[in-house]
Symmetry: C2
Subunit: 170 residues, 2 copies
DNA sequence: CTTAATTATTTTAAGTTTAAAGTAATTTGA
DNA sequence: TCAAATTACTTTAAACTTAAAATAATTAAG
């Protein structure tokens, strides 16, 4: 049994629940920032965050992507991609077409309008992030990137034991 | 106009788009971990992640919380708290009651069953996180916590200019 | 005192999310 | 060949999310 001193020392700092505290901080921080980015994307460009994410993935692939690949890259389930792409097609930002050689496959590709709209969005989106992190030491950003990557890697290896997580490398 | 060398030096490392890269890494990492925690909470305890979050907040307040406070602390909108609390009441994990002195106010409070169930969940939840971060250097965890907090603080101050973000201190 | 403003919560509509079941096309293997 | 398995996508149901409108209770102001 631990005495008062050990309990206090363990909880106040260091060993105690740092993993939990860090996780809660990561979660609340990304939630906070996501909410604001979502708000701005809606107000300025009338798109949702997942829609922006889909557009971003398609923008790097001028020939388009299969819905399955899109699903992996955005970490959005297959079932969800269907509706997302449907709405974006309705808005004229992308087109869908069936592959002739394998008619199970649907490829989504940005329209010219979608491409130019996304480029406007991406520019604003990046500048919001730059502004947000304006006062952060560049070395801190680099170190954060590398340490967060370490956690991501741990999640991929430890959690992958159960599932089959292949993609999601970004 | 920048020459090739400057362009290359700028993009490959350091200045370029580190803010964007860090943000995408933070987002994909929290999404990945959330997905697995959600999966395990569902399988082992039959609760969702937002429900777990509500229970966690109520667990620290034996006298219960107003729905508005619950909304702030969980960063869940008012409208959403209604349904969440409704389902948790149906499952017998909490009770709602109207305040006599101000009948606009509803207070939610854990039942005895809710309290003991949450404690089981919290124990498992914490051990999953410890396991996930097993190989991380404790100093890295501490440094991550402090740097992520810096970003959170920046978001609260920069974004608060527009909105009125008071709570969300955790 | 009584209407107007404010506060707390609920409702609504559109969209996203997960998990699971369903459909269609293609590939495999007996 | 042709039934069974696999693959790609869609559909479904329940829950969550946001933003905005609606309801109800209290407080404030004239």
């Amino acid at each position: 049994m631990l005495n008062d001193l050990e309990l206090a020392a363990g909880d106040v700092q260091g060993g105690g629940k740092m993993e939990l505290r860090l996780w809660l901080r990561l979660l609340s921080t990304t939630k906070l920032i996501s909410q604001e980015l979502r708000r701005r994307l809606r107000i300025e460009f009338n798109v949702t965050l997942p829609q922006f994410d889909v557009l971003a993935q398609l923008h790097r692939e001028p020939d388009g992507l299969r819905l399955g690949d899109l699903s992996q890259r955005t970490m959005v389930t297959n079932g969800n991609i269907t509706g997302l792409v449907e709405r974006l097609e309705t808005d004229g930002l992308l087109v869908r077409e069936r592959l002739r050689e394998d008619r199970r496959v649907t490829v989504a590709r940005l329209t010219e309008h979608g491409r130019s709209e996304f480029e406007r969005m991406a520019h604003a989106h990046e500048s919001w992030l730059k502004e947000l992190m304006r006062d952060m030491d560049p070395e801190v950003l680099t170190s954060l990137f590398s340490h967060v990557s370490e956690i991501k890697h741990a999640a991929l290896t430890r959690f992958a034991a159960t599932d089959e997580l292949d993609g999601a490398l970004d």
